[in-house]
């Protein structure tokens, strides 16, 4: 049985820009270090680069265009700071053009460095990056004295888009074998953009009216779908949930998975019947590179926002609905929000966090006749949920490929007046927000406490926080 893991390194555009600028900023070799947490599922590990640090040129014992040495004494502060890290990043530059590749010196020193790392950070991996002057990188993960395993892709997440770097030693060459079904999609997106989205695993929380259509629209352009929903099909789902008929029964995710696999047999689809957040759903979603959340409760939206912020995942959140006064529609529409590094989190982008009770409590209240907002319509029409899903997937494509300009961070559709507004400039990151108000630092600050609007936030379970720091080899969990 192969024990090879599939590694992806994710970093914010700010952090990666600092790293790239430092390494490219000298004709002599330079070093850079960084601290990573990690999330893993089913042999896939996503390393999250939190912070980078650079020795000054004056600190090196030796530095010229072909060699750089940091003395043992000067390595200790970096090692001490790596306490609790799942991985320690060691990057250095080859300040000349050409395919970067580790030298014997690099390999011998890295093996000793990995052994040293086990003191302050038992079980931690050494993430190795070599950059050349022409921008190409070699990237590997060292988990012992043996040769490192390649990093498949580096995902650099900015406010307006995702940059995917395929290291020169990656086993994934960045291209896909396209099929006849891709012909018209390729005409719009191009080879590079479709290859980029096909390299992504997308998690989807909620596969009801909106979520099921999001899954359908994503199915032909992504590499993997991960579906999460606790509910079972009911006859009332049939008008909006495309894979459901009036006699359909069973779990929503099970039915969705079967229908999507029928249409796209080559697509990997995994699913979990469960509420988010929970240990099972969180573990399954640890395999995602991008997250959609289409639930019917703001507590789930808030939890997804924090989960995405903590795990450096881009997130698209969708909601739709309407209000009626005296049986006459007074409001009808939907919103699509994009949460990405460098932009506002959902609470800073207009999410109402004033009623973050558990969804089961809300449901129990409804069953006992306690209706908090009598004007809210308990349902939607398929044209509305379908349009909401279409806009959400369009935002995804704009963010991942840039095929038609910069993605909006907040779309609001007023369906009664047939208007869609770009509300991106109406919201901004609030100073001090624990999720988006500060640069990603090491060690990570637990996302608990008070949000900027003064409402109490929900805790990420402490078990979840601890799992971020566990050795990579112990992380796999199945749903």
């Amino acid at each position: 049985m192969s024990l090879t893991r599939e590694y992806t390194l994710a970093a914010s555009a700010t952090t990666w820009g600092q790293l790239r600028g430092h390494l490219a900023g000298s004709q002599a070799e330079r070093m850079a270090f960084g601290y990573c947490s990690a999330i893993s599922n089913l042999g896939k590990t996503r390393l999250l680069l939190h912070e980078v640090e650079f020795p000054t040129d004056g600190e090196y014992a030796v530095q010229h265009s072909a060699r750089v040495v940091l003395s043992g004494r000067d390595t200790i502060p970096y090692l001490i700071r790596a306490k609790g890290a799942a991985a320690f990043l060691d990057a250095h530059s080859h300040p000349f053009p050409g395919v970067p590749h580790p030298s014997l010196t690099d390999n011998h020193s890295a093996a000793r460095q990995h052994a040293s790392l086990q003191g302050p950070a038992p079980g931690a991996a050494l993430v190795r990056i070599i950059s050349s002057a022409d921008g190409r990188i070699w990237a590997g993960v060292q988990t012992g004295p043996e040769d490192p395993e390649p990093i498949r892709q580096v995902h650099i997440l900015g406010r307006t888009g995702i940059e995917v770097i395929v290291p020169v030693n990656s086993t994934c060459d960045g291209s896909n074998a396209f099929r006849e079904m891709d012909r018209r999609t390729l005409a719009c997106l191009g080879d590079g953009a479709l290859s980029k989205t096909r390299g992504l695993a997308v998690g989807l929380i909620g596969v009801g009216g909106v979520g099921s259509m999001v899954a359908r629209l994503l199915a032909s352009v992504v590499g993997e779908l991960i579906l999460v929903d606790p509910d079972h099909l009911e006859p009332s789902n049939a008008p909006r949930v495309w894979y459901a008929g009036t006699n359909s029964r069973g779990s929503k995710v099970g039915a969705a998975r079967r229908a999507i696999r029928r249409a796209f047999p080559h697509l990997e689809v995994r699913s979990c019947v469960g509420s988010f957040p929970s240990r099972a759903t969180n573990n399954l979603l640890a395999g995602a590179d991008f997250l959609f959340v289409c639930p019917d409760h703001n507590a789930v939206r808030f939890s997804a926002s924090r989960f995405a912020a903590e795990n450096l995942l881009p997130l698209i959140e969708v909601g739709c609905g309407g209000r009626a006064v005296d049986r006459e529609l007074s409001a009808l529409g939907y919103h699509v929000r994009l949460q990405v590094p460098g932009g506002p989190c959902l609470p800073c982008n207009g999410l109402d966090v004033s009623k973050l009770e558990d969804p089961s409590t809300t449901e129990a209240k409804k069953q006992h006749g306690y209706i908090e907002d009598g004007s809210e319509i308990a349902g939607e029409l398929a044209p509305l949920t379908t349009r909401a899903a279409a806009d959400a997937v369009d935002v995804f494509l704009r963010y991942c490929t840039g095929y038609s300009g910069t993605p909006p961070l907040h779309l609001y559709n007023d369906s009664l007046h047939l208007k869609t507004l770009d509300m991106t400039d109406s919201y901004s990151t609030q100073p001090g927000c624990p999720a988006c108000g500060a640069t990603l630092r090491w060690p990570p600050t637990p996302l608990v406490g008070i949000t900027p609007s003064g409402h109490k936030g929900r805790h990420i379970p402490s078990a979840r926080r601890e799992s971020l720091r566990a050795p990579i080899a112990n992380r796999d969990r199945n749903c």
Binding site: E29, M31, A61, V62, A66, R67, V68, V69, L70, S71, G72, R73, T75, I76, P77, L79, I80, D90, H92, H94, F96, S103, L104, T105, D106, S109, R112, Q113, A115, S116, Q118, G119, P120, P122
Partner: protein, 69 residues
């Protein structure tokens, strides 16, 4: 007899105190490696006496990178 950790490996020592140089030999650590206190980050010199009862130390050496070989 002492029981301490070096780079997270348990080292059994014949004495409760010994010099860093002796500890290096027991821990199969190269002479050029630096031993430091894992809690404080303090570098320990070869002739320095250290406590080996349930103490935790780290070792490190020069980090060298080169594109020439």
């Amino acid at each position: 007899m002492g029981l301490s950790k070096l780079n997270n490996k348990v080292i059994v020592t014949p004495k409760d105190q010994m010099t860093v140089a002796e500890f290096k030999r027991l821990g199969d650590v190269g002479e050029l490696e630096r031993i430091y206190d894992l809690h404080t980050g303090q570098v320990l010199e070869d002739n320095q006496l250290i406590d080996t009862r349930e103490a935790a130390y780290g070792s490190t050496t020069d980090w060298e990178r080169g594109s020439s070989r």
